[in-house]
Each structure stands twice: as structure tokens, then as C-alpha cells.
Amino acid sequence: MTPTTSSFREAIAPLWRDNLALAQLLGLCPLLAVTTTVVNGVALGLASAAVVVIASTAMSALKRALKPAARLPVALLILATLVTVVDLFSEALFYDLHGKLGIFIPLIVVNSGLLAHAENVASRRSVGFTLLSALATGFGFLLAFVALGAFREIVGHGTLLSDIELLAGESYRGMRLDLGVGGVLVAILPPGAFFGLGLLLALRNRLTATKPQDRSSSGTPR
């Protein structure tokens, strides 16, 4: 295996093997709170992904200019700025959706997983590696949002992609699916978030258990 292949594999590990939410169990607060529908989950997942990609890449580009002691404040400054911009833009462009996500857009700034990425990976790796790894982290996180959102929406509301028009525009309203099942209210209440996450973790463990695992590389607990 060439070094290029192995570092590529390492960079995309956060997509699934080191998934922020499903393997490292970070960023669970927004994940559990907003995933009452797929669309809510997608919106916050995309916002988080955009923030981590820009923040980590910027931190990687700046790594030679910064003393290690200054990295954390600078990372927080970048994250806070990005989150402010994302918050304002989403309120201007997706007003109703922004109302549903409420406090969880501003709270992206304290997502420990994103901060850990901007600090740990970006301070050691090249800009290219960091960009790829941040993309994998962001989309891996989005994957968890979509999976949990879909589970809770199907079981709780019996629909899929309701409110899609808030994200994609009025002409996509018809994409909403009524499955005629579900209506199990607990799925959209907070306990349902934990049940859903537990099932997702069980599913992930089941899928990864058959493959040999490098235990040393599993996550950076904080």
C-alpha cells in the first residue's frame, strides 16, 4: 500500500470508521435535538459541515504562523465568525427553517468534535489532507443527522422529507412522502432521539464488527 493510499484512507476515515457522532460520540447534543425530521437534520448537518471544512482548512493554512498556545483562541475566533455568518445567512435565506433550528445554529461554535478537528488534524497535517479530512468529518456528521432524522420522521410522523420546501424551495413540496405508517409519538420526543441513536450505534457496530479493527485509531475522546 503506497503512503498516498493510506493517508487518503486516513483522511476519509471520519466519514464512517471514525464518524464524529457514531464512532467518537461527539456533537450529540444538536444531533439528538434537531433530528425530528430529515430536513431539519440535513440543514444543521450542512451548516456544521460548511463550518468545519472552512475552519479546519484555514487553521491548517495558518499552522506555521501560529504558536501552539495561540491556536485554540484563533480556532475559536474562526469558528465563531463562521457560525455568525451561517446564522445570519440562514435566517435571510431559509427563514422558517432557521426558526425551527433555533439555538442549534449558534451552538455549532461549541461543537467539540469540530473544534477538535480544527485543532488536532489541522495543526499537524497538510492543507490538502485537512480539507479532505474535514469534508469527511462534515459529511460523516451529516450522514448521522440524515439517518437519525429519517428514522425519527418515519416512525414518529409517518412521513419522509416533510418541510422540504423550506430548504429547497416551494417547487419541491411534492417530494414529501406519506408512508401511511408510524405515528409513534415517542420517536419525535427526546427519548426517541436516544432510542434512535442507540439503534444506529448498534447497527454501526454490527456492520463494523465483522471487519478487523485498528483499535488505536478509534476517535479522540474529549
Binding site: K67, P73, L77, Y95
Partner: protein
């Protein structure tokens, strides 16, 4: 590796430049989105005005006059609350209050309450709320018909002492599992009617005055 990382002077310059860029970016984002957000808020309120009018008035071309009324006791907010007086050739047809129900379960609930000139409720809708998903969010017409029970009610029917939820010996249904939410909304509608009863003539006079001022100075 650590020794390769810059010195303090370089760090200070980089951090200062970044801070300036951050300030600029936040300011630019604010300037870009500020008016769009305000327009979104206005559009949302105006679109919902129709939903609280009596059916015969919906979609009719009425003159809408916006007043800012401050009355924390009745309208639920320490600041001015939007009150829309809708007139047809000077004759008042309806009044819509953007009343706040301050004691929602999680946060204040923003309502729109339509009141006919004779003092009956023509409709109540929630504009913004933070009530519990699956329980208190039944105040949203998209989730349940609970809000429709206010249609046609007035301070005379039921009498003021029955303007409460069943648990408080009143006449209104409460959402099961969301007593606090229900209580907050019923109180807000009642207080709005009380305000309207006491200030109806003043509201209409102010609206007429504002409409006249608007005509005197062409846009």
C-alpha cells in the same frame, strides 16, 4: 515540529489580521442579511393576517394601518406590539393584534389574534413558538385544530370568569400534556379582548389619523 511554528510576533500579526477579517466578515454578513431578515419577518406576519380574519374579509383589498402599542399587562410585551387596523374606505373592518403570550412552556409565544369590530375573535394563529414538539406544538394549526375553538368567542360568550381552561374551571379545552401552553394562550386571547374593549375607539381614531396623514403626504 513545534520549533517550526512561528514566533510570537508573527502569531500576533496573524491573529490581529484574522480578527480584523472576522469583524469585517461578520459586519458584511449582517449588512447583507439584515434587510432580508426584516422583510422575511414582515412577509410572514402579513401572510398570516388573512388567516385570522373572518372568511368574508379574506383576500379583500383592505387598507392596513400598522400601530405600535405598548401595554405589557394586556399585550404581553414590554415593547411596542404590532396592531393592524384594517379598514375599508375609512370603515374599520377588523383589528389584528400581534399579542405575545409571555408564559409559554419554553418561551414566550407570538400570536396573531383577529378581532371583529363587535369584539368577537375571528381567528387566532401562532406565529412563533418554542413549545414541546408533539405536545405543546398542537397550538400550531398545521398540527391540530385546537386554535379554532377561539373563533366567534367574545368577552360576553363565554363570560370573563369562564375564559380559562377546563382544569381552571373555564370553558376552553386544554391540549393534553400541555396545560401550561394552553393556559398561556387562553390568557393572551382574553387579555387582548380586554384591551380591545377598553381602547377600541382610540385604536380606530389613531388608525384614521395615520391613514389621513398617509394621504396628505403623497409617497
Amino acid at each position: 515540529m513545534a520549533s517550526a511554528n512561528g514566533n510570537w510576533a508573527l502569531t500576533a500579526v496573524a491573529a490581529a489580521a484574522l480578527a480584523a477579517a472576522a469583524l469585517y466578515a461578520a459586519r458584511a454578513a449582517y449588512d447583507w442579511s439584515d434587510e432580508r431578515i426584516a422583510a422575511n419577518e414582515r412577509a410572514r406576519v402579513v401572510a398570516r393576517l388573512n388567516s385570522v380574519l373572518e372568511p368574508a374579509l379574506r383576500g379583500r383589498d383592505l387598507t392596513t394601518t400598522l400601530l405600535g402599542i405598548t401595554d405589557a399587562e394586556h399585550l404581553g410585551s414590554d415593547g411596542p406590539v404590532d396592531v393592524f387596523v384594517l379598514t375599508d374606505r375609512g370603515a374599520p373592518m377588523a383589528t389584528v393584534f400581534a399579542t405575545v403570550a409571555p408564559h409559554g412552556y419554553n418561551a414566550a409565544i407570538d400570536l396573531l389574534i383577529g378581532v371583529a369590530p363587535i369584539g368577537t375573535v375571528t381567528g387566532v394563529r401562532v406565529v412563533r413558538h418554542r413549545e414541546t414538539q408533539g405536545l405543546g406544538d398542537a397550538i400550531d394549526i398545521a398540527r391540530s385544530d385546537w386554535m379554532l375553538q377561539f373563533d366567534g368567542k367574545a368577552l360576553t360568550s363565554p363570560p370573563p370568569e369562564l375564559w380559562a381552561i377546563e382544569q381552571d374551571e373555564g370553558e376552553f379545552d386544554a391540549i393534553s400534556g400541555a396545560t401550561v401552553t394552553s393556559r398561556a394562550v387562553v390568557a393572551a386571547v382574553k387579555n387582548t379582548l380586554l384591551y380591545f374593549e377598553q381602547h377600541r375607539d382610540e385604536l380606530y381614531a389613531r388608525a384614521a389619523e395615520a391613514a389621513n396623514a398617509g394621504r396628505a403626504s403623497p409617497p
